[in-house]
Amino acid sequence: MNACVRPDRLADYARGRLQSARAAAIAQHLSGCDGCRVKLDRITGAHRALRDAAEAPVPDVGSVRTEATIRWTRVPRQAAVRPAFWFGLGAAACAAGVCLLLARPAGVASSASPRVAVAPRVAPSPVSPPPAVAAAGESAMVTLLGGDVRLWRGGKSRALDAATLLIGGDRLITGAGARVAVQWGSGSGLLLTSDAELAFSALTATEQSFELARGRADLRVGRHQPGEQLAVRTPSHVVTVHGTWFTVAADGARTTVEVYEGVVEVAERGGRATTLLHAPATGVFGPGRAQHGPLDAAKAAQRRAESEVNLVPWPSLEAARAATALLAVASTPEGALSIDGVQLGQTPMAVRRPIGRHLVDIVRDGFHPLRKWVTVGVDTGELRMALPRVADEQLMEPVAVEEMVRARGRQIRACYERGLKRDPTLAGTVSLKLAVGDVGQVRRVSVEESTLADPVVADCLKHEAAGWAFKTGRNATVVYPFVFRAQ
């Protein structure tokens, strides 16, 4: 056999999978072919590595995620078709039909078009849904909760729980750094930030009315039914809206309004002066005077990012609650939390999200950012994470590298000596660039410069250095020249 042997044939030969005649021919070829012997040596190395891979010890991973995996997993009902299931399905369909007939008001279109207009501040139009149907189940759901938020209900105050449903007459008071978001309809909700006080004066299908005594409220208003009205009353003004996104801040007799989408109407209490603000706009309203103008685009973008209400899909309150779950996120130390790329505020925080996978990011200056995929299941989940501190850079002393080179001298020489076998005149310098990690381990190795004719030696050195770990020095980059000459 004169032609060189194909590598996969050499692999079969090395594993003794060939017939004796063919194996003998290959053995004969190998005795006279240096190139194939080198190939065989490497293939044998690959076989050893494959065997090592099969026998490698199993790392102990996943034990801390047992609870999380189970808690956030929902086992779907079995696909088996059972009579009881079909009976149940039929009954549910009938019930849904009855509910639809009851809930759909006469003369109202099934999908209302978005309105970017000022709502009439008069009694609901004749086409609006009858109050008896609309009043049923008009509650607001907490979609985000962080910090000290108190709920006043029936003259008593208590800490707000993320699972509590809010109703008309409730009052929320937020402490410093706290934030709470609530949702009451499809695309409609508000975010109350720190040191604010807001009361739910009315919360029905046709009227949502809030009293903002102090602080700032960011509101998003989705599609409205004809006649539906939303108003925020500050001590001095009334802000009325339809289909929009805006912020109201109350500070004594002064009211500041910023409009990011749609149009709002700002009227002084008593109805003397009315101002229409078309987005993007900002206005400051005091007693008897108003100052308003366009909102700077950069500021509007920043405000929108800060005023995330964390709305969830809302076919109805029950459906929204069933299709979502609360996720409590805590980190040590506290950090800025984003879920699915949307900034929500500082941890710890309880966030309501649709059931399924979500990407959680926590960032804080001076700490490595954390990113985790979590699966939100039917029950409340809890995610606790520790942010690792970014280690300070420590200078690498040349002596640390020299010590390592001395300790690993035999392996380094072996790289060169293998090259010498191929070329007895081989000499030159190889400069390796080592990126040292936060615990002294070599994270990355590259050949900065090499004057050696044989690139295999530099590759061998690279592989050797990749396994080094320095006792002193971290987060540093070192370039070290290795000088080789035959003695």
Binding site: A53, A54, V58, T69, T73, R74, Q78
Partner: protein, 199 residues
């Protein structure tokens, strides 16, 4: 070779069907028991396919169990639980490998110290060779890689691989042929595998 593979051939614990039924009913305790019983095997299989020392092993492990619990209701007992779980494992690993390719993820330069050796020097050699092998595997397409790992690392026959990956035996043989050809051509030219015969 001690492959430590799931009990596709050997008999299964008689308590397993009952455990699966409880899981199908959504009993939390049963899910926990199932997770603890199979976590080790799934980790081992994932590590062989994805390579040691990659940071994503824990995430993929979690994905396997989430996927398994999601589809356990459809498990009819036609195959052994371990075989079915292995299929889930392979599908999730395949998705992960495709994602790595899509994101052009940089292969790990170094293999974590998961391989124990009697001397540090020997350990270093082992890690160097293991790193080289998985760098070569990173060049194979995900489907070829799976077939190659099942055959060359786990010692499974094409017929068995075909059942696991849900492909015809002939397709598996073709994939394996090209995977071996590509792998050993790269291995023969990789100085990182030097010294394999001498050691």
């Amino acid at each position: 070779m001690n492959t430590g593979k799931l009990s596709v051939v050997s008999g299964e614990d008689p308590r397993v069907p009952e455990l699966v039924e409880r899981c199908q009913r959504g009993e939390r305790d049963a899910l926990g028991e199932f997770y603890r019983a199979y976590r080790g095997e799934v980790t081992r299989n994932l590590q062989r396919v994805l390579g040691p020392g990659r940071g994503d092993l824990e995430d993929v492990l979690q994905d396997v169990f989430i996927e398994a619990f999601r589809s356990i209701g459809r498990f009819r007992g036609d195959a052994r639980v371990s075989t079915w779980l292995y299929r889930v494992c392979i599908n999730v690993a395949l998705q992960r490998l495709r994602k790595r390719k899509r994101l052009a993820e940089v292969p790990a330069d170094d293999v974590a110290e998961s391989v124990t050796e009697e001397t540090p020097e020997r350990g270093l050699d082992t890690r160097r060779r293991l790193g080289a092998v998985y760098r070569i595997l990173d060049h194979l397409s995900p489907k070829k890689r799976i077939v190659f790992v099942l055959h060359e690392i786990e010692g499974r026959e094409p017929k068995e691989i075909a059942q696991l990956v849900g492909a015809p035996v002939l397709t598996v043989r073709t994939r394996l042929h090209y995977a071996r050809k590509e792998f050993y051509a790269r291995a023969a030219g990789d100085p990182g595998l030097d010294g394999g015969g001498a050691a």
